[in-house]
């Protein structure tokens, strides 16, 4: 395959960036998208140019580190697929592909396609956990959890923290990410106890990080590699309102 690429290049967080054009020949349709970038980087290196920095690690869709806006879509044209699981057979011969970093005020660009998602860590730090220290746990079967509840908690907990939900949202909202964690923990009897304080602290932190509000376009769910449901946002809002009322 022959393909043409337009890629965002930015030296450092403070530098101005711009789109640069590249072409690649002999792309194998069975290559993964990131292997295509490896190929381009090898070509740049042979010409003595700085390689394109991009986030990636496990390359099997679970670590959540990869994430590129491809032709304006988070993780590219396939639904519910991370960038690393995308293959070149998805693209047409001669196609022009545009690559940009995930963009949001709360996700500053570090270099080229690499971004800073530490805001997500700080949201979790604000309360995305159950306060149990090592050694304090009771026998695991002492608190039964219904099968449907455990499954629903899992669905929320499956979030990989990639940030596609933020990147695709016109408001750069982190409501799906935050809602998924709140939902995961509040559904379980172990996590329900702290739910009030948790939801307030996490939502406040989300706002403090500069993420926008949710306006229910549901674009996040459509692009989420893990198909996390927007119902978790509704549950977060419910829990938040409940906490506000109970506070008074």
């Amino acid at each position: 395959m022959h393909i043409r690429l337009k890629i965002w290049r930015q030296e450092s967080p403070d530098a101005a960036g711009s789109m640069k054009s590249y072409t690649l020949d002999q792309v194998d349709p069975d290559m993964s998208f990131l292997e295509m970038l490896d190929m381009l980087n090898e070509q740049l290196l042979q010409h003595g140019e700085r390689v394109i920095e991009f986030d990636h690690d496990c390359r099997e869709g679970i670590c959540g580190q990869c994430g590129i806006m491809i032709n304006g879509r988070a993780h590219g044209p396939l639904k519910h697929t991370t960038t690393c699981q995308l293959h070149m057979r998805t693209f047409r011969e001669g196609e022009e592909i545009w690559l940009e970093p995930f963009r949001a005020t709360a996700f500053p660009v570090k270099c080229d396609l690499k971004i800073d998602r530490s805001a997500f860590d700080r949201i979790i730090q604000a309360g995305g956990y159950i306060s149990v220290s090592t050694g304090a746990a009771p026998e695991a079967n002492s608190i039964p959890v219904g099968h449907p509840v455990a499954e629903a908690a899992f669905d929320a907990a499956a979030c990989i923290g990639c940030g596609a939900c933020v990147a695709v949202c016109k408001n750069s909202s982190a409501a799906l990410f935050t809602g998924a964690k709140i939902s995961h923990l509040v559904l379980l009897p172990q996590g329900e106890i702290e739910s009030q304080a948790r939801v307030q602290r996490m939502v406040n932190q989300m706002d403090a990080e500069g993420f926008g509000h949710c306006s229910n376009t549901e674009a996040c769910e459509a692009e989420c590699p893990q198909q996390i449901s927007v119902l978790h946002i509704a549950r977060m809002n419910w829990e938040f309102n409940k906490a506000q009322v109970l506070k008074k």
């Binding site: 194998d28 069975d30 290559m31 993964s32 990131l34 292997e35 490896d38 190929m39 290196l45 042979q46 003595g48 700085r50 390689v51 690690d57 496990c58 390359r59 099997e60 869709g61 679970i62 670590c63 959540g64 580190q65 697929t81 699981q85 293959h87 057979r89 570090k110 270099c111 998602r117 530490s118 860590d121 979790i124 730090q125 604000a126 995305g128 159950i130 306060s131 149990v132 220290s133 090592t134 050694g135 746990a137 009771p138 695991a140 079967n141 608190i143 039964p144 219904g146 099968h147 455990a150 499954e151 908690a153 899992f154 907990a157 499956a158 990989i160 923290g161 995961h184 923990l185 379980l188």
Partner: protein, 636 residues
């Protein structure tokens, strides 16, 4: 002399006896003690969070952009624990025996017993953290069987058990960051260990975003940096997984144990081209219903579904009628390689075997198979474009797990006082072959339940040391050495990329220090790696500068791999027997099975660094079997 510090007494009392007599640190004194933890996978997050909860001052480092991405996240199948919830006869001793047998009697009895003993508490801890394990309709935890054992002791969270356990540990860690007891350093890579008067006292790290070199001091250093299977280039590991932290500690005096014992996983996707960067694992659970075969005809050109039954060789069922397609990983991988090497491999590169679900679909219906493995079939189709409900999967063995690692004693301390190695970074519990669902277990148990006790035993005497001063000459010297190495790599200005050297090294190791090894091949490999290393320092090219630079990061890791690869070959060369994943072609039974030699090789090989151009020095830690008798591992 290697002192394993195994407590005396009956097997079942050793750990409780140790805990009852270990030294403690007064809660008021803990905030005066600093601990560095490198790595934030299950072992690293668990120990950092646990020490933070106890009141120590902890610094946690990882190279990923957040701790939650450490490679524990990718483990699929499950975590073992002997809860005996199925009432099927499980217990600590049985789990201990399965594990030590699975490791081909090349692990310490006391360590393995402790692993089994602590397994039940881990499930309690994880459930309390909110890990959504699979449950039965009554609300109680479910189990499945795994990896050839005869009881159901594997807890699972769909096919994402590693992810869910890691998120539990990560959240515990974030709670401590919030509490101020743990300071987080993401995107920081450890480049050297600092020792003062023989004790581990800190590390030198590089901030991967800015390129800044930093010094960090502590009273103890924990390396929980995972395995180094990525040395083979093509592996099931993440691209960033590396051996640099443990290797640099090794060069500062920590011994490496059994570095050549690498688990090659039988059910990975095959390589499809030269560009390939990664071999994706397909869960071992597929072997519960899939049948593995190759055509009997070497030049078979028909598509698999048109090859008639009588012209298929179900070689695992043929060679191992008792365990068949569920034979342990080392056996299944080796049998696949035997067929592929003999010319019966399938696929365009003739490097794979079929994993066929047609019989299971016929017997159980497609819906049932979809319910069990739907996500895996979807993943397979995403990557290969092939619908595995209609034609067999193609699978192939791939480097997966390092049983070897830094040598540690019963306290998980390396040969450098104050330096600990946890999880896959150490060698301790899996012997020469790891059983499925035991890696998550070992990482968690090391981090939550063992190191918090054994480290206190060491730290109790460290209060009198006072704060560690990073202005000490040892820090300056280590920092200078790190900077010199970076300048050396950047200054070569040749014309070949780091990936070229990594791929070439990986190929040498796959061919000569992989699934089967020979004395002649290993000697060749040592020479070839030496030549490759020489070429690396003449022809490497790194574009860009000292700030954020992926190529510079990779070059440092590959420089270490080129030394570690040599050590692996020496390790495999000197072990003149076959055991577990280590198969020496000179040592096999007439029907091609591993031939262990307990009389001469019932010991752990611990290697001391002697310099890049000098062969390493071997130390032997004899293995004593007081409670079980090593037997021949048969799956026939």
């Amino acid at each position: 002399m290697l002192e394993s510090k195994i407590p005396g007494g009956p097997l079942e009392d050793k750990w409780s006896h140790y805990k009852a007599h270990a030294k403690l640190v007064n809660p008021a004194n803990r905030k005066k003690l600093d601990v560095i933890v490198v790595g934030t996978g299950l072992a690293g997050s668990a120990i950092a969070a646990s020490l933070g909860e106890m009141g120590y001052r902890v610094k946690s480092f990882c190279f990923q952009d957040t701790p939650r991405r450490a490679h524990s996240v990718a483990a699929q199948g499950g975590v073992n624990a002997c809860k005996n919830y199925k009432n099927d006869g499980d217990g600590v001793f049985r789990m201990f025996y399965d594990t030590i047998k699975g490791g081909d009697f090349r692990a310490r009895e006391a360590n393995v017993y402790r692993l089994a003993e602590c397994s039940a508490s881990l499930i309690d801890q994880a459930v309390a953290q909110g890990v959504p394990f699979g449950r039965e309709y009554g609300g109680y935890l479910n189990n499945r069987s795994f990896g050839g054992v005869q009881v159901s002791r594997t807890f699972y969270a769909r096919g994402q058990t590693g992810q869910q356990l890691l998120l539990g540990a990560y959240q515990a860690l974030m709670r401590q960051v919030n509490a101020g007891s743990v300071q987080l350093y993401a995107r920081h890579e450890m480049l050297d260990l600092v020792t003062i008067d023989g004790k581990a006292r800190g590390i030198i790290v590089r901030n991967m975003d800015t390129g800044a070199i930093e010094r960090h001091g502590a009273h103890a250093v924990v390396l929980a940096t995972g395995g180094f299977g990525k040395i083979y280039y093509l592996s099931t590991l993440a691209m960033g997984c590396n051996g640099s932290a443990i290797w640099r500690a090794h060069k500062r005096g920590a011994y490496m144990a059994s570095p050549s014992w690498t688990q090659i996983h039988p059910t990975s996707l095959p390589q499809s081209g030269e560009y390939q960067s990664k071999l994706t694992l397909m869960s071992e659970s597929l072997r519960n219903d899939g049948r593995i075969w190759v055509p009997k005809n070497k030049d078979e050109s028909r598509v698999p579904n048109q090859v008639p039954e009588e012209e298929r060789d179900y070689y695992l069922e043929r060679r191992y009628p008792a365990f068949g397609n569920l034979s342990p990983r080392d056996i299944a991988s080796r049998a696949a390689k035997e067929r592929i090497d003999a010319g019966y491999g399938i696929g365009p590169l003739k490097n794979a075997v079929y994993l066929d679900f047609s019989k299971a679909i016929k017997d159980q219906g497609e819906e049932k198979i979809k319910e069990k493995y739907g996500n895996l079939f979807r993943m397979y189709e995403k990557i290969t474009g092939v619908n595995a409900y209609q034609e067999p999967m193609r699978i192939s063995p791939a480097a997966h797990f390092s049983m070897g690692g830094l040598w540690v004693d019963y306290e998980l301390m390396t040969t450098i006082p104050g330096l600990y190695a946890l999880g896959e970074a150490n060698f301790a519990d899996h012997g020469a072959n790891r059983l499925g669902a035991n890696s998550l277990l070992q990482a968690c148990v090391d981090g939550y339940f063992i190191a918090p006790y054994t480290m206190a035993n060491y730290l109790a005497d460290e209060i009198k040391s006072g704060p560690i001063d990073i202005r000490h000459a040892a820090f300056a010297a280590a920092e200078e050495q790190v900077e010199k190495q970076l300048q050396l790599l950047m200054g070569i200005q040749g014309n070949l990329s780091t990936d070229y050297f990594h791929k070439t090294l990986g190929k040498i190791l796959y061919d000569k220090c992989g699934l089967s090894r020979s004395g002649k091949g290993l000697e060749e490999a040592i020479r070839e790696i030496a030549d490759l290393r020489e070429m690396f320092y003449q022809r490497l090219y790194i574009p860009g500068g000292y700030a954020m630079n992926t190529e510079l990061e990779k070059a440092g890791r590959v420089a270490d791999y080129l030394e570690l690869g040599t050590l692996m070959c020496y390790d495999a060369l000197t072990r003149e027997e076959s055991c577990g994943a280590h198969f020496r072609v000179e040592h096999q039974t007439p029907d091609g099975e591993a031939l262990r030699n307990d009389r001469d090789f019932s010991f752990i090989s611990a290697w001391q660094w002697e310099g890049a151009d000098t062969p390493p020095k071997l130390h032997k830690e004899p293995l004593h079997f007081e409670f079980v008798t090593p037997a021949v591992r048969s799956y026939k």
